[in-house]
């Protein structure tokens, strides 16, 4: 039986990431420090304010932050730059020669590379959160957070490819990518639950794809059993992957016309 190529790409990238555990350990260390500091901030803030802020208790904040940070830490922080540089340098042009979707191939192998990191972060985060705030507020919801995290990483990768595709047209697109990451931090809910944002900004963030990249799994892990979040993520994944494919398709035609 023939295996579908995205699966092969995903698996071999995951194997490669596991073979060199050095970078994995370093990024895990950073994740533990960053998430712990931020979780501590929100935990004591909630405790100091009568036990809850915008409906999240101290324990819920802790589980929220360890999850939202895991969703973002699973990716190489410079991934979007690397993708953009590949486009700018013409490395992507070579991949166009392959008889498979360039975007699909790239997203699949990046996802493969991120999964070992993601699961290491989930395991570490779960232990640290339990030590700091006790067991997950609602185990069923927390379990749903696991597939939701995978979807979050996939959405993030798809969106990064759509954004990085700007490099097909703009010579120096670096600041665009940097801005993108910061949008995930605030509008994606990595630094705080979206409910913290003022009403209008909360509404805006809820309608943007960034919420699928950190907020959705974190909301689940903090004990809110909202399975429809997974549906929203799937919908965004379809839209973002479509956008990435469209951007690369257009870029490809431009390369054929204008040259690399």
């Amino acid at each position: 039986m023939r295996e579908p190529w995205p699966l092969v790409a995903l698996r071999s990238s995951a194997m490669r990431a596991l073979r060199d555990p050095g970078p994995l350990a370093v990024s895990l260390g950073f994740y533990a420090i960053v998430a712990t500091v931020l979780a501590t901030l929100w935990r004591i803030a909630a405790t100091a304010h009568g036990g809850a802020i915008v409906g999240y208790s101290s324990a819920q904040f802790v589980w929220y932050i360890y999850t939202s940070e895991a969703a973002v830490s699973a990716l190489n922080p410079r991934q979007i730059e690397l993708t953009g540089d590949d486009i700018a340098s013409g490395a992507v042009a070579v991949e166009l020669l392959r008889p498979a979707s360039v975007v699909g191939m790239r997203i699949a192998s990046e996802l493969g590379r991120s999964l070992p990191r993601l699961f290491a972060c989930i395991a570490t985060g779960a232990v640290l959160a339990t030590l700091s705030a006790g067991a997950a507020p609602r185990p069923a919801a927390a379990l749903l957070a696991v597939p939701s995290l995978v979807l979050a990483v996939a959405c993030n990768l798809a969106a990064q490819h759509a954004f990085a595709g700007a490099a097909f047209w703009i010579r120096d697109a670096r600041s665009t990518w940097f801005l993108y990451q910061k949008l995930v931090f605030i509008l994606g809910g990595m630094l705080m639950p979206l409910q913290v944002l003022p009403g209008w900004l909360h509404a805006l963030a809820g309608a943007l794809p960034f919420m699928a990249m950190a907020y959705a799994p974190a909301r689940l892990a903090s004990g809110h059993l909202d399975p429809q979040l997974l549906v929203v993520q799937l919908a965004w994944l379809a839209v973002l992957a479509g956008a990435a494919a469209a951007v690369f398709g257009a870029g490809e035609r431009r390369l054929q016309v204008v040259g690399g």
Binding site: V26, F30, L41, A48, H49, I53, S175, F178, V196
Partner: protein
């Protein structure tokens, strides 16, 4: 040394490749933090004596002092790499003291943008009266000495380890820890932040002095700066005896 610094600045000017993009990225980074703290205190009000203006002042001190260290003495965070790559050779071949030469050897204009951001933030949100400004300036300088010395010390660990990862971790940890109100931590962590990883002195203490000048605390800050400065000098000088000039087999 002023000549070295002037030449380093000339080199930084000549190397402006993606200068404005990087400055923009750096500015976005700083602005996002400001937005985060504004949103945070919008919901929380105050936390263990910290409010929005106090955190913004802390952030102003951190970007001013940090920008100074990473901008003017940009090699401070690369000491570990220089040691493992044999980059100290060039300094040792000259009739100069190697540590000051290396520190003055590289100016990074992008991080000077952080410095400018810090000044701007203080001007806007720091309530600049003459007295406060004076304390802010001296406090930021002391903070820069503490940060730079800490970076040199963790970088010098490479003399022993032959690898530079510890230095990288130390750099990221102290910047991260300095950017939060130190009082959210308790017990051992807080003790560490006032001693081994002196994040408190890199931002929180100077910021506190601007608001409530306390001669004793000021003395403590200056003492810590002097201690870390001498510590950096000593650790680097002692480590230099074990310098291997990147003889490849040290990592075999």
């Amino acid at each position: 040394m002023p000549t070295v610094l002037r030449t380093a600045a000339a080199e930084a000017r000549a190397n402006q490749g993606a200068f404005w993009t990087q400055v923009a990225a750096m500015a976005i980074n700083d602005i996002v933090w400001v937005i985060f703290w504004v949103l945070f205190f919008h919901r929380v009000g105050t936390l263990r004596g910290w409010d929005r203006s106090r955190v913004l002042l802390l952030f102003a001190v951190l970007t001013t002092g940090g920008g100074l260290v990473l901008g003017v003495t940009a090699n401070a965070r690369r000491i570990g790499q220089l040691i493992t790559d044999g980059g100290i050779d060039a300094a040792l071949a000259l009739p100069v003291s190697p540590l000051p030469y290396l520190l003055a050897r590289r100016v990074d204009a992008v991080n000077l943008g952080d410095f400018v951001f810090g000044l701007g933030l203080f001007a806007l949100a720091g309530g600049p009266t003459p007295e406060r400004t004076l304390v802010y300036v001296i406090g930021s300088l002391a903070a820069a000495v503490v940060l730079g010395s800490f970076l040199v010390i963790v970088g010098s660990l490479s003399f022993l380890a032959g690898r530079s990862e510890a230095g990288d971790l130390g750099f990221h940890a102290i910047i991260l820890l300095s950017s939060y109100p130190v009082d959210i931590f308790g017990g051992v962590t807080k003790l560490v932040l006032y001693t081994a990883v002196p994040a408190a002195f890199v931002a929180a203490v100077p910021a506190r002095l601007v608001n409530h000048f306390d001669p004793l605390l000021a003395l403590a800050l200056l003492t810590v700066a002097a201690t870390f400065g001498m510590g950096a000098w000593t650790v680097f000088t002692l480590g230099l005896r074990r310098y291997t000039s990147s003889a490849i087999w040290t990592r075999a």
